[in-house]
């Protein structure tokens, strides 16, 4: 199974390396979202600092939606998903291979979004470890969720609109817990940051469990 996951993940990462969609299209879009929020809040440093954690996760979620859509669009073209299935890959291996590649790409997006926050919103980080832990759990959760719903909508004509409609509500717990953890790490809240990070981890594990159960039905007849 690990070898099969690696085959799919490596293929997706090679495609990303050749096309650079994450770096050239998704990262600029995410940074643009942060800039637009800055305009919307009239460049008020107090407001932007207070909402920085939430803005980070909203921007990364947009990036995850775009990444998930792209990840499964390339499988719908020319029957590539069929070719993977004819290679004897287990549905779970396809799902986890794509989720792993998506997680790595989302983490890259997260790094750029965090850098954008530091530069554009002039926030200061009080707990880097909490930022990293919450960031890893949250982006991985977005990736797993994105892979699940990407698999569900692959090949559908309405996938462009259906994917965000399905993904964003289900990702709401990650938005909530991630924002709370980041608020603590950025010093704008005195909440229990690690408790929220633990909740992020629980949400991630839940998504993974659902993925294991749903991979077969989702990708067997996609």
């Amino acid at each position: 199974m690990l070898r099969e996951i690696w085959i799919v993940c490596r293929k997706d990462l090679t495609i990303e390396w050749r096309a650079r969609v994450t770096l050239v299209q998704i990262v600029p879009t995410v940074l643009l979202v942060l800039v637009v929020f800055a305009f919307a809040f009239d460049a008020n440093p107090t407001l932007l600092g207070a909402g920085a954690g939430g803005l980070f996760w909203v921007a990364v979620l947009f990036g995850a939606v775009l990444g998930s859509k792209r990840s499964f669009d390339i499988e719908a073209e020319g029957g590539n998903l069929d070719a993977l299935r004819l290679g004897g890959l287990a549905p779970a291996a396809i799902l986890w291979g794509k989720a792993t590649a998506l997680a790595l790409q989302s983490m890259v997006v997260g790094v750029f979004a965090a850098a954008g926050l530091l530069v554009l919103f002039s926030v200061t980080v009080e707990d880097w470890l909490l930022i990293v832990a919450a960031g890893l759990c949250g982006t991985a959760a977005f990736a797993v969720c994105g892979a699940l719903y990407g698999a569900m909508t692959v090949g559908l004509r309405s996938a462009d609109t259906l994917l965000p409609l399905l993904l964003i509500p289900v990702a709401a717990p990650v938005l909530l817990a991630g924002t709370r953890a980041f608020d603590v790490a950025l010093g704008t809240s005195a909440d229990q940051g690690w408790s929220w990070t633990a909740l992020l981890a629980v949400v991630l594990v839940t998504y993974i469990a659902v993925g294991w159960l749903a991979a077969g039905p989702l990708l067997e007849d996609a």
Binding site: I7, R10, K11, T14, I15, R18, A19, I74, E77, G78, G79, N80, D82, A83, L84, R85, L86, G87, G88, L89, E220, D221
Partner: protein, 215 residues
């Protein structure tokens, strides 16, 4: 009966193909040729009928047959952003092919050298078809299923494809292909005519090259 969503795309197909046989499917657009090929590959659910491919019961377990089947549809299953050598390496990993087999396939279809560093989306349709055929060769399927395999190829590559299929049959593989080109259908030992999801009675069977003749 084979279902596309809930639509019974095939109903009334009674077809038995021997191992090592080359069969050509013919028929008008929408006759069910592509669906029959996909059903044989285990990619379309079969209901209310007996369907066995390479000894695998498609109603009970469609997944097991897939590893032994190679399918080339209307469009080449290639990733446009990958380079040719990336795509070939991916196919080799997917099918655990030996380096010698990969090299042979690359040389046979002339997709090595400078072409290897070109992105798939920059290739012509015929070149993409050659890459797809190389990947199919690397997969070493026991059952070759090809939908309009000659489309987009120039005459020399069409001949090369016919040679490839003849070689596959000689090696013991079974080949089923759908085509509208009467001239190319002659390479098959048997022709089957489909219409409206059914096999027409009295399908033409011209005197052609059979597996034993090819051997």
């Amino acid at each position: 009966m084979a279902l596309l969503d809930r639509f019974p795309a095939l109903a009334g197909v009674d077809l038995s193909v021997q191992a090592g046989e080359m069969v050509c499917l013919r028929g008008p657009n929408g006759a069910g040729k592509s669906t029959l090929l996909r059903a044989c590959a285990g990619l379309v659910p079969v209901r209310g009928a007996r369907a066995e491919v390479l000894g695998f019961d498609l109603r009970a377990d469609r997944r097991s047959v897939r590893r032994h089947v190679g399918l080339l549809g209307h469009r080449a299953p290639l990733y446009g952003d990958l380079r040719v050598d990336d795509q070939v390496r991916h196919c080799a990993e997917l099918h655990s092919a030996a380096p010698a087999e990969v090299t042979a396939a690359v040389e046979r279809f002339g997709i090595g050298g400078r072409l290897g560093a070109v992105a798939i989306r920059r290739l012509s349709e015929g070149q993409q078809r050659r890459v797809a055929l190389a990947c199919l060769t690397i997969a070493r399927p026991r059952l070759w299923l090809l939908d309009e395999p000659h489309a987009g190829l120039d005459s020399s590559n069409r001949d090369a494809l016919d040679d490839l299929l003849a070689d596959a049959v000689t090696a013991g593989a079974t080949v089923m292909f759908a085509t509208h080109e009467v001239g190319r259908a002659g390479a098959a030992a048997r022709q089957v005519l489909l219409a409206g999801g059914r096999i027409e009675e009295g399908s033409p069977t011209p005197p052609t090259i059979g597996p034993n003749d090819a051997a």
